[in-house]
Symmetry: C2
Subunit: 529 residues, 2 copies
C-alpha cells in the first residue's frame, strides 16, 4: 500500500542502489543525489587482513604519515614512523607562548599570552574537505566557525583612493552597480540582440535593475536603496533623527582602481567558500588527535639520510639529531611523506623518473606573521569581527581572529600571509624586521591603533624551516603533466604521500586523500605479494 | 622630538578632537575615521540628575521598554513597567521543550529535546547593530557566529531546473560568468566606447576575464578554472586518480530561470551582510539580561485599557488577566512601547495626528516554523553547515542551525520564514497543518530525509499573537512621510518607543535606538519642566 510507504533514508537508498548495481552505480547515484559532488572522500579506507607480521615504515609524522600509520595499524600492519622534528604534526602546527620557532638562521621565543596562538600552516577548513572533517570527528577535535567573508573588512591598494582603505562592502556593491549599468546600457542599445533572445534580454534588464540597484533610468547612483546595501553617510536610527542619509558611490574608474574583482574572485574559489571551520584552540589539535592514536609508533629527532629497497623489504638509514646515534629501520613496505625539497637531498633508491619528479616539483613559499595586540581594537573601534583585509603591499593581507569575539584582553591577528614575492621579501628579513614591516604595512588599515596596541609577534618563513624548505607543492600545469603520475606511482615497496601527491596542493585535505590512496594501493600490493 | 612621538589611540584622538571642537566635530571626525559610519549608536545614553521623586511608567517589557527602564533607573527615575504577558522580552523570544505557544485560536506544547530551541522573532545580529552588541556585552550575553552565507546551501525555484534545487555556489559562479561574457562582448563590439574611457575599457575587459573566469575567447565555458570556483563533476583528490573533472555550467537561460540575482541581492543588504552573530542558547538571553536588571519593576499579566495624561502626570488603567483585578498606575512621565495594532485598540489620550499615525502604521506578518530532526542529515549527507536554502514556495526558506555543527542527536532547523502572502497562508492553518506544509515544501531540498527524520515541530504566526497582532512595522515611503514624525514626537508627558518608532523596523537595533532617543528627549523635557 502506497500510503504505508516510508521514504528510505539516503543511507538506505544508497545501500539499496549499491547492492543492486555495485560501486559504479553507487558513485553515480551519490553524485545525482548531490552527495559526493564536493569530495572524493568515500569514508575512511576499509583495509583489513594484513598478512601476519607484515610491516610498514612511515617517513614523516605529519598528517599524511600519521593517517597512514593509524589506518595501517588498524588493518593489522606493524608500523613505525620516523620523524625529523621533536614534534608530530608537520605543517599542522600551532605556536603559543613558550614555544620556540627554529628557522635556518634564527630562533624566536614566542611570548603570546595564555590561550593565544598563531597557526603558521593551515588555518581553515572548507565545508567540502570531508576527509579532514571526518577525522576531526573521529579524533574528537572540536571545530568552530572560521569567519571568512567579512563585508566590513577593508581593501587597500597603494594606487586606489589615495591609499585610503575602503570597506569590501562599498566596493562590492559599487562593482555590481557599475557592471549592471554598463550591461543594461548595452542591452538597451541592442548591442546583444543577436546574442540573447528577446525573452532573456527582458529578464536580464530586470535582473540588472534589481541586482545593481539601478534607478528608473538604469543608472547606478546615490539613493536610499543603494544605501540599504552600501551603508550610509548617516545610518538609520530611532526616533526623530532616525532617517538615514545615503552617501555617494564610487565612480566606475575609482571602483576599477580598487581591483575589487580580485577579492570577489578570491571568495568565489571553491576552497575559499563559506562555511569554513577551524579547530578550537589551534589547528594542531588535529595533529595531536592523530598523535594520541599513533604517538607511541613515532621515533622523533630522526634524520633520514638514505632510503633503500630490495625484494625483501625497505631500509631507512638515519641519524638521531639529539644523540648523534645512527641506525637503520627495516620493514616490508614504506610510505614516504618527506617533502620533495628535503627528499631531493636524500639518497633515495627509486627510478630516474620518480627522482626527476621529486626534483621538478616546485614548492611555493609563504610567510605568516602573528601580531598580538593589547586589545581587539578592530572589533571595538571598527566593528570588524573576523575576516580578512587585503592589501597590495608585501604582507598581502591581515586577518582578524574568528574566535573570542567580544572578549577583552590581548588577541593575535594574522599580520601577514603572502605567497610569492612578498613571502620571499619577508622571509629574507630577521624575525624582528618582519614584525616591523608587518606593523608598518598593516598600519594602513588601523593607523591610530596598530603600533600603539602591539604587544608581541611571531613569524614563520616556510622556506627557512629546515624540515621542509618551502611551504607546499605548487605544481604548474606543465610540471604536473610531466611528473605527477611518476611521483605518486608505487615503485616496488615504496609509495609517496602528502599534499604534494594530490590535486589539493597546500591543503590538509590533499595530504589525507593522498595518504588514503597510497595506503590503499600499498595494501593491495602487499595482499597480492 | 618626532622620534618620541607615540601615535595617539583612536580614543585619545577622538577625545582631543572632542575637546577642541565639540560634538559636531567629534561626529565628523569619527565618520572620517570610519568609526561611526555604520551606526548611529553613540554609547549608552548618559542621563543623570533626575528630579527627586520623578517617576516614569513604561508600557511593555520588550527590549525598548526594558532598556528605557534600565537607563531611566540609572538616571534616578522611579520606574514601573506594565506587561501584558507573563513573560518579559516581547519579540525577543525563544521557545524550548516544555514551553507553550499561545496563539489566538490555538495552543502548542513544544517538545524539543533539551538544548534545542526556535527563535520565533529576531534570530541574527549584524556586525553594525552596535546598540544590540553593546548591551549584549553590558548584560553578559554570550554571542557566537551566525552562519549566514553558505555557498553549498540550495536555491529552489518551481520553474527552474525542473524543480531540482541547485547549490548557491553553482548559480553564483554561473551568474558572474554569463554577465562577464555579455559585458565583455559589448565592450569588444565597441558598444560602450562613448561611455567608458579607453583605459577603463581595457581594465574592464581584464576584470571580466578574471572575475567571470572567461576563456581566451572571452567565453564562459567548462574548464578546470571554472571548476575551481563552481565545483566539479569529480572533485580533486589524492594519488593516481587525483585529477578533477570539471562539470558543465548552466546556460544563460537556465541561470536566469533561477533568479539567482535575488539571492545575491539579499546577501548584499547591509543588514544581511556578514559578520553576523546570535546569542548562545537562544535570542531570549538578551531579554533575560535586561530582565535581570529591571525584572523587579515589571507587573506581568497586566492588560492596559486606557492611557490618560494631564498637567501633573500620566495614568494607565489596567486589568490583571490572571485575577481580574483592575487598577491604575500613575507616574510623571510615560514611555509607551505597545505595538501599534494593539495600541490602536486602547483609549489613548493623544492628539488626532498621533492617533492617525498609530492607525496608519502598517504591520507586516511573518511565520516561523521550527522542525526538530532526529539527526543533522544536512551536515552529514549534504555538507551543509548553517546558512539558508531559498525557495519560491510559501515557506520561503529553510535555515540550518549555526550552533552545534558536527554534534549528534536531534537538532532544530528553521522550516519556514515567509513574510507576505506565504505568511498569511501558513498563519491561516492549524499548527499541525503548518508543520505538514513545511515538511511537504522543505522536502524539495532533502527528499529522502526530510520527513523520515522529522521528530517534532513548533510554529509562531505573528498576526495571531494576541499581544502584537503582527510581526513588525512595515512603513511604506508614503505612510512614513505622512505619519512617522507624528508617531515619535513627545506629546505632553508621553513618548512612544519600539522598532516601529525607528528607521530600523523589524530589527532589535531599531527598538533600542528608538528607546534611547525617546528617553533622551523625555529626560530633557523632565529636566526642563
Amino acid at each position: 500500500m502506497l500510503e504505508d510507504f516510508t521514504p528510505p533514508t539516503r543511507r538506505q537508498l544508497l545501500t539499496m542502489i549499491g547492492k543492486a548495481g555495485g560501486a559504479a552505480a553507487l558513485y553515480q547515484a551519490m553524485t545525482v543525489l548531490g552527495h559526493a559532488k564536493d569530495s572524493q572522500f568515500n569514508g575512511p579506507p576499509k583495509l583489513s587482513g594484513a598478512k601476519p607480521g607484515a610491516s610498514v615504515l612511515v617517513l614523516g609524522a605529519g598528517l599524511a604519515g600519521m593517517l597512514a600509520a593509524y589506518e595501517l595499524t588498524k588493518a593489522g600492519y606493524k608500523v613505525q614512523i620516523l620523524e625529523f622534528q621533536g614534534r608530530a604534526g608537520g605543517r599542522n602546527y600551532t605556536v603559543r607562548g613558550g614555544d620556540t620557532i627554529n628557522e635556518i638562521g634564527s630562533k624566536q621565543e614566542v611570548t603570546f599570552a595564555p590561550g593565544n596562538y598563531l597557526n603558521p600552516g593551515p588555518w581553515r577548513i572548507p565545508y567540502h574537505h570531508r576527509t579532514v572533517l571526518h577525522y576531526c570527528k573521529e579524533l574528537g577535535v572540536q571545530l568552530e566557525p572560521f569567519l571568512q567573508i567579512n563585508h566590513n573588512a577593508l581593501i587597500h591598494g597603494k594606487k586606489a583612493f589615495g591609499g585610503k582603505p575602503q570597506p569590501y562592502r562599498d566596493l562590492m556593491v559599487d562593482w555590481k552597480g557599475h557592471v549592471s549599468e554598463l550591461l543594461g546600457k548595452s542591452l538597451n542599445a541592442g548591442a546583444l540582440d543577436t546574442t540573447v533572445t528577446a525573452e532573456d534580454k527582458a529578464r536580464l534588464l530586470e535582473a540588472m535593475r534589481a541586482w545593481g540597484v539601478l534607478d528608473k533610468d538604469m543608472k547606478y547612483t546615490k539613493s536610499d536603496k543603494v544605501g540599504e546595501q552600501r551603508g550610509w553617510e548617516r545610518p538609520p536610527g530611532g526616533g526623530v533623527n532616525g532617517a538615514p542619509i545615503p552617501n555617494d558611490p564610487f565612480s566606475l574608474s575609482e571602483t576599477l582602481d580598487s581591483g575589487i574583482w580580485n577579492t570577489l574572485g578570491f571568495y568565489a574559489e571553491h576552497v575559499m567558500q563559506t562555511t569554513m571551520f577551524q579547530p578550537k584552540g589551534g589547528m594542531d589539535h588535529i595533529g595531536k588527535g592523530f598523535q594520541a592514536k599513533v604517538g607511541k609508533l613515532i621515533r622523533f629527532n630522526t634524520r633520514v639520510s638514505k632510503i633503500a629497497q630490495d625484494d625483501r623489504g625497505v631500509t631507512a638509514s638515519w641519524t638521531d639529531t639529539k644523540t648523534g646515534q645512527t641506525g637503520e629501520s627495516h620493514a616490508d613496505w614504506m610510505v614516504c611523506t618527506i617533502p620533495a625539497p628535503v627528499l631531493n637531498q636524500i639518497d633515495f633508491q627509486v627510478s630516474p623518473a620518480k627522482k626527476a619528479a621529486i626534483r621538478a616539483l616546485p614548492y611555493g613559499n609563504s610567510v605568516k606573521i602573528g601580531l598580538e595586540m593589547k586589545r581587539r581594537f578592530w572589533e571595538t573601534d571598527y566593528a570588524i569581527y573576523g575576516g580578512i583585509s587585503f592589501t597590495d603591499q608585501a604582507i598581502s593581507l591581515i586577518s582578524y581572529p574568528s574566535a573570542g569575539c567580544f572578549t577583552d584582553g590581548p588577541a593575535v591577528l594574522l599580520g601577514a600571509y603572502p605567497f610569492g614575492a612578498g613571502a620571499y621579501m619577508l622571509a629574507g628579513m630577521t624575525p624582528e624586521k618582519r614584525i616591523q614591516a608587518a606593523l608598518d604595512q598593516g598600519s594602513v588599515f588601523h593607523p591610530a591603533e596598530y603600533k600603539a596596541e602591539f604587544r608581541s609577534g611571531a613569524s614563520v618563513a616556510w622556506n627557512r624551516m629546515p624540515w621542509i624548505l618551502g611551504c607546499c607543492a605548487a605544481w604548474t600545469e606543465e610540471s604536473r603533466a610531466a611528473h605527477y603520475q611518476d611521483l605518486v606511482s608505487m615503485e616496488g615497496r615504496i609509495v609517496l604521500a602528502g599534499e604534494h601527491c594530490s590535486y589539493y596542493g597546500c591543503w590538509q585535505e590533499g595530504a589525507l586523500l593522498s595518504s588514503i590512496d597510497a595506503i590503499t594501493r600499498l595494501h593491495q600490493r602487499a595482499s597480492a605479494a
